[in-house]
Amino acid sequence: MDERMTDAVLATEELTVRFGGHVAVDRVTCRFRAGELTAIVGPNGAGKTTYFNLISGQIPATGGRVLLGGRDVTRLSVAARTRLGVGRAFQLTNLFPDLSVLENVRLVIQSRRGRDFDMWSMAAAHADLAEAAEAVLERVRMTDLAGRKVAALSHGDQRKLEVAMLIALDPKVYMFDEPTAGMSVDEAPVVLELIAALKAQTDRTILLVEHKMDVIARLADRIIVLHNGALAADGPPREVIASDVVQEAYMGKALEDV
């Protein structure tokens, strides 16, 4: 292990997954440090979400390793990795639809504070959990929706709640998968502010899948490019965006916006 390996909060080594004959993530080796925000870009179907699924454990890798603080977590369950500090906001909204907004966030905090197996006290008596959940909702400006059932929320609000739940989890490694997709122009800045604030905290590692280049240019310290599942480029935003490989691999409309 070299120097950079040891100070990496999260690292993947030759991480690979095949679905039948299709290699969705192809030997991706990459390290992520605390305080660093890495944008992950690539065309649709490049394997960005699948790369996240391998890191947080929703899909088992067929090859390679995932290291968290130097520890091999490749065989651990999703829950175990979450407890070790990997947190995820999903691209496709993934909430508890029949529960209230507050309850969704409260459950995250309850789990983080290790009270999931408390069977004998009243959930309502844990006022600190509800307070912490309210504080998170305040940060995403959803206080007025606290009592609403999630299934009744607008799509944009569900997306915001998705981010709120990750904020409530407060992991070491934050993984945002297109957090502002489907949000209105008023809502997106709230979420981007939150991500900027996390970055300013300097002890969190942030991975951000994003298509909007203006967002990336503003927030990212580094960009990695996935193309057909493989790592096609890795470096500071200016260099990567200017590089030939990106111009070829990622000649989408998004780049023209820059």
């Binding site: 979450t82 999903f90 508890f96 639809p97 459950l107 999931d116 009243m122 959930a123 989890l169």
Partner: protein, 351 residues
């Protein structure tokens, strides 16, 4: 105070509150309100089945786990009491030891079944519980040297709990205060405590996690919940509660047999009670159990009377014949599911 006893889970509907109060008062004063062996027996059965249905609702309604092994756990508790009373002779010690042994056996079996099979898809879990429950039922019928086989076991319980014990010379409010009444109150308070304990569990942080897992297992894992452990814990708690309800039933009946405590028919009954009352609320289990046991006991009598009254009308006596009571129960069930898909309680709470 009331809020604490109910673990903060208030009925949230005046009608539901009144129905629950009626059930509670009816059961609490059953020996005086409904004198007679038959009605006291019905009341005791309601008590037992309220606790049993509530323990099943923890699994089905709150955790979203479909299990067909619930009567097996009920049977373990009942046979625990029967075997202990048979082996140790009539004593309170035997009742306690039998209940404890039954509960421990249920916990161990639930832990095994849970850990081995709650990882797999829900349908496989349901199948595995069915297989294990059938195997245990066969085992209890075959081991006739120990369990009495198909005939079951008759055993004696402490004299203090039988009609032979007299606690007062004079009848009180028209009821002779015998050990039978004491026995009834043992069943009543035992079931009440079980019910309140289950109410407590479902309203705890643990209960909330169960609901989250039922809603979206995938997300529950991603917020760090160890889903298999939660499900297994729920299975164990539900199994132990069912076993204790079984012990109460065995103390009341002084007889256990495969048909009374292990049959698949009881499993179906419990399922119906929970669905009729409303899944995912403990009160639903209570209302469902009370309605079901009453229908089971009095529908036949009611139909007999109706058939006599309709004797002149051609055709009617045929469908009102008391032997058709199951048909009517089935019809009632279909109607109730059709009109109250969220159960009686869901309907009363306006959902």
């Amino acid at each position: 105070m009331l809020k604490r006893i109910l673990s903060g889970d208030m009925p949230q509907s005046r009608a539901l509150g009144l129905i629950l109060l009626a059930i509670l008062i009816g059961l609490a004063f059953a020996p005086f309100l409904f004198p007679g062996t038959r009605s006291l027996d019905t009341a005791a059965r309601i008590c037992v089945f309220v606790a049993l249905a509530a323990s099943y609702d923890l699994l089905l309604g709150y955790a979203g786990i479909v299990s067909f092994a619930h009567t097996m756990f009920f049977g373990l508790g009942a046979y625990g009491v029967a075997l202990a009373s048979d082996g140790m002779g009539r004593s309170f010690g035997a009742l306690a030891a039998g209940s404890l042994a039954g509960a421990l056996a249920a916990a161990a079996l639930a832990l095994l079944v849970g850990l081995f099979s709650l990882r797999v898809r829900a349908i496989f879990f349901a199948m595995i519980t069915l297989a294990v429950a059938s195997a245990v039922a066969v085992l209890f019928s075959q081991l006739s040297g120990i369990t009495g086989g198909e005939d079951g076991l008759n055993y004696r319980i402490p004299r203090a709990l039988t009609a032979a014990a007299r606690y007062a010379e004079e009848p009180f409010l028209g009821m002779r205060l015998t050990g039978k009444v004491l026995n009834y109150y043992l069943v009543f308070f035992g079931a009440l405590i079980l019910f309140l304990a289950l109410l407590r569990v479902v309203n705890s942080p643990f209960g909330r996690v169960l609901q989250a897992i039922r809603e979206n297992e995938f997300r529950a894992e991603a917020i760090g919940c160890r889903v298999v452990w939660h499900r297994t814990a729920a299975t164990v708690i539900s199994a132990v509660s069912a076993a204790l309800a079984g012990s109460l039933y065995a103390i009341w009946l002084r007889y256990v047999g495969p048909d009374t405590v292990l049959s698949f028919e009881i499993m179906v009954d419990i399922l119906l009670m929970v669905v009729i009352g409303g899944m995912g609320t403990m009160y639903g289990a209570a209302v469902g159990a009370a309605l079901f046991v009453l229908a089971q006991n009095y529908l036949q009598a009611l139909m007999g009377a109706a058939a006599e009254a309709a004797a002149g009308v051609p055709g009617l006596p045929l469908i009102l014949d008391p032997d058709r009571w199951l048909l009517w129960l089935g019809a009632l069930f279909i109607l109730s599911v059709y009109f109250f898909p969220t159960g009686v309680v869901g309907r009363l709470r306006g959902r």
